[in-house]
Symmetry: C2
Subunit: 311 residues, 2 copies
């Protein structure tokens, strides 16, 4: 096992931070690090929290962290903002939020902005969760902004996916359209002191009836008022109900297997493309395609057959 | 040249529709079709139009189509909604919008929802634009909902990218954060009869000062009120100014070259992954990774070295 992996397993927070930087910067040692840490995975419960901007996710996550600490659980948080190309901006938000938990070694927050492609962001998030799991947090929260396709990809890493909605916001249709309904395990009505809660519940139930779920799990709906610190115990209770369901039905195991198999193919794809890009950075085809002498599809076919012959 | 390619080049609309379905469904003949059509590209001016939901894009596009028809230009429209997994929903919207242009053979609208990954959607859009160009529309409009990372990828196909904003919406920060500022060639202030236009102009100019552009082009700001059919001529004038700039500076040519070179690598990546997925659909590693016997990164390395040895 390499030295950095050992530091992470021994709960060295600075080692963890460096490991995550390896992942973000696609460091040459990254794969080796993930390989080493695989044997040390602890099986933290990963909770994804998504919802529209303004739904009060950050404040809810903050309260949930307080709640989890009060019952002696340690928490790792990955805050993902796919719309932000600036990790600097994300970091600033972190520092503000971290301040409250600054002296608490049981809490670690890391923000991720857009680096490279979106597929890249989903993969970076997944690998960061792997590192946090090897470090040994009891619970890992993955928080994303928005309810688009990118959030859907990112949420695939979670054991339990919670969708935050507000009364009177009309978000349900958005959530439905984005395909989030199919992956939601739990709905959180935050700002439940606003009017329109029963209407929202009816809408969610209606949408749930429309969606074909693969599993017999019917997502429960919990209500919270994060500004008043209300409903966190109820939320946590439902997360644990879902956790039990995942264990007893075997669905949790199947889900994790699927995720890991997917991960294999993602790594293969990424590494292969790195190689091809490197090899063809100055290929003759670039000029031929640029001048219109050769069409892109013929060039692609040539590269493919060349690749198959040579390697 | 295959029969379908010939139908498209000969302006058979049903042939075009079928060709686009080939692209959407990743038909085995797709690459051949694109190859055949490459020699028949006509160099339509491709205009990307993006902006927040509710900014009035659809109505603006509709007015722009009327304007373009009044000056005898034919128009192909690709309406992309990355949040919608239902092409059915998109189709319904089409039919409503098509109704107005139903008897007009100089207008063709096609909607795309999410199929597969987002990278997939960007690629599908690009290839659809290729087909419309071979068909021979004078102008191709690519309209996307929202201002996220996915829209940014989709917009890369456009010669001129226009961003639609409204006074008093606070969208500028969103647009800036999403990295759209860097790719915008033109800003359209729609609903310019609302208060706050001069403030919005100041904000846009301020953001433009912050962003490092690769080119000397400074995006102009035009004002429209699409509900009153105002400002379309001014908008079109600025598009033509940009078009001239692209031609005279050589930037248009460089941009198209870059896009085509990128397309080559995208095709290679996609085709390779298809092959690998097929080959490893029932690989032994699936079980080993599933049982935890082997970690995903070792499995990936094995596949990679096997792939390099065998092919």
């Amino acid at each position: 096992m390499n030295a950095l992996a050992e530091r992470i397993v021994k709960k060295d927070l600075r080692g963890l931070a460096r490991g995550i930087s390896y992942i973000e910067n696609d460091h040459p040692e990254k794969l080796k690090l993930l390989q080493d840490l695989h044997a040390h995975r602890k099986g933290a419960h990963v909770i994804g929290i998504t919802g529209s901007p303004g739904a009060g996710k950050s404040s809810l996550v903050n309260r949930l962290v307080h709640f989890l600490r009060s019952v002696k659980l340690t928490v790792g948080i990955v805050a993902v903002d796919p719309t932000s190309p600036f990790s600097g901006g994300a970091l600033l938000g972190d520092r503000v939020r971290m301040a409250e938990h600054f002296t608490d070694k049981g809490v670690y927050i890391r923000s991720m902005g857009t680096r490279g492609s979106l597929g890249g962001l989903a993969r970076t998030t997944k690998e960061t969760v792997r590192l946090m799991d090897a470090y040994g947090f009891d619970v890992i929260l993955v928080e994303t902004v928005g309810v688009g396709q990118s959030e859907l990809d990112i949420m695939k890493v979670a054991d339990t996916t919670a969708v935050v909605l507000n009364p009177g916001s009309g978000d349900v249709v958005q959530v439905f359209k984005a395909g989030i309904m199919e992956i939601a395990d739990l709905f959180i009505i935050n700002k439940a002191d606003l009017p329109g809660v029963s209407k929202l519940i009816t809408e969610i139930e209606g949408m749930l009836d429309l969606v074909k779920h693969d599993s017999p799990w019917r997502p429960p709906i919990v209500q919270t008022i994060s500004t008043e610190n209300t409903g966190l115990d109820g939320l946590w209770k439902q997360v644990k109900v879902h956790q039990n369901y995942l264990q007893e039905s075997g669905e949790g195991e199947r889900k994790r297997t699927r995720i890991m198999q997917q991960e294999v193919l993602e790594v293969v794809q990424y590494e292969l493309m790195q190689k091809i890009n490197e090899k063809h950075e100055h290929g003759e085809w670039r000029e031929q395609v640029g001048s219109g002498e050769m069409d892109p599809y013929t060039a692609a076919k040539n590269i493919l057959s060349e690749w198959e012959r040579e390697t």
